[in-house]
Symmetry: none
Subunit: 240 residues, 2 copies
Amino acid sequence: MGFDDQLPPKTRLLRAAAELLANSEGSAVSTRQITKLAGVTAPTLYHHFGTKEGLFDAVVSAGFEEYVAGERDFAPSGEPLEDVRRMWDNHVRFGLTQPHLYLVMFGNIRPESRPSIVADAEALMEEMLNKAAASGQLNVAPREAARSILAANVGVTLMLIAEPVEDRNLELSTMTRDSMISAVSTDKARGAATGDAGKSSVVVAAIALNAALQASHSDQLSSSELKLFLEWLHRISSSS
Amino acid sequence: MGFDDQLPPKTRLLRAAAELLANSEGSAVSTRQITKLAGVTAPTLYHHFGTKEGLFDAVVSAGFEEYVAGERDFAPSGEPLEDVRRMWDNHVRFGLTQPHLYLVMFGNIRPESRPSIVADAEALMEEMLNKAAASGQLNVAPREAARSILAANVGVTLMLIAEPVEDRNLELSTMTRDSMISAVSTDKARGAATGDAGKSSVVVAAIALNAALQASHSDQLSSSELKLFLEWLHRISSSS
DNA sequence: CCAGTTCATATAGCAACGCTATAGGTGCTA
DNA sequence: TAGCACCTATAGCGTTGCTATATGAACTGG
């Protein structure tokens, strides 16, 4: 069925399952679809993988190796916290590129396989944070920081996956990422080079005024004036 | 089948589904199990709910109302950020108490129902953050802060649910919670909220913004825009 | 060179699944 | 009492995950 007949059936099953899992938008994938695409019959699948879940686990293992490879495959920048940011972004990118694989890995609740994968991902993050801790950039234990950061990372990625593609806003990711990192690290205020106290107080005041205006329905401005006013407020308060 | 036969079939179906959903450890629940427990036959289910998913959606709606009730049912402490912490803890508690319901609500990826639930939860959080913003305690827009906090909240809760009960460490929750809140808030009362009890918060915020703008020479607005903006600001702040 | 063993695949089919076409029973209003 | 919604049951369709059984191919020991 349009699949390389030279490959051994086990490989063909793995590829067929991965392909169907990747293309089916959330809906279930049946063993009959898989075996048909792989060009084998049902018992072959159960001979090699025992169960449908077993086949999916094998696919997930392959996917996790790809994930780990992605998390390791960049030159360390010498700045550990910067590398943590890259790991975060890699994580999100992996989730958005392979949402179904990601959901099986991080979204499901499967008392056996999931914790092990999560533990491995945590270990990767902790490893990186150890370097930051060694140079005095962390104010909490690396393990706890890794767990906390990874939890937020998973939450953000799930949010983004669940959103329609057209209005996915990656700023949610970068903002949460920097919040988490700055909270566990000693050197606060990323981008402090450009940030100064006066400007940030403008932002704070603008945000406060915006919230207060919307809550109070002040009639000091006409509706058209208010609209423009709020637009400018937004421009001010979204500058960082 | 051991279910109150006085109740209408629709209610019995809902209760049976909720019970089976709550007790089945992750494994699927079949319509036949549900209808048998409810003491009705298959077509009754489809008459009332259209589809299996429809029945589950109804269960989730009930669960969500319970969630919202939990998020609203505490006296505001007068300190908005403290209330945000309580909302966070409520969220986690709800997830750990009803993990299966929670997973359907926040863990699954269902392009229709999930975003609406998430959006409602975000609105709840944003509502609370608006109060914080009005008193100048936020340094990002309430909506973005709400999305970010909720994402981390969901991620932490999923982590905790996936962990074996015996070594669940709630410190992960409090630590991530405080990290997110401290990253998004500004504990220093920057001018805006300094004890001007008499004036409305709009006026206070406008005055603060006015002062801050003149001190910082922000370049987000052109000079003509700035002039008009300040004029409006003056109109707002001189109203009492 | 062949009997024995093991591995890998196919034929055929089971029980359970979500779902529905159809019909019968119930309580209401006219 | 007739008619009409509404609600539920009988029976069964097509599909699902999975398997008891059998067959062919490849290797091994004598």
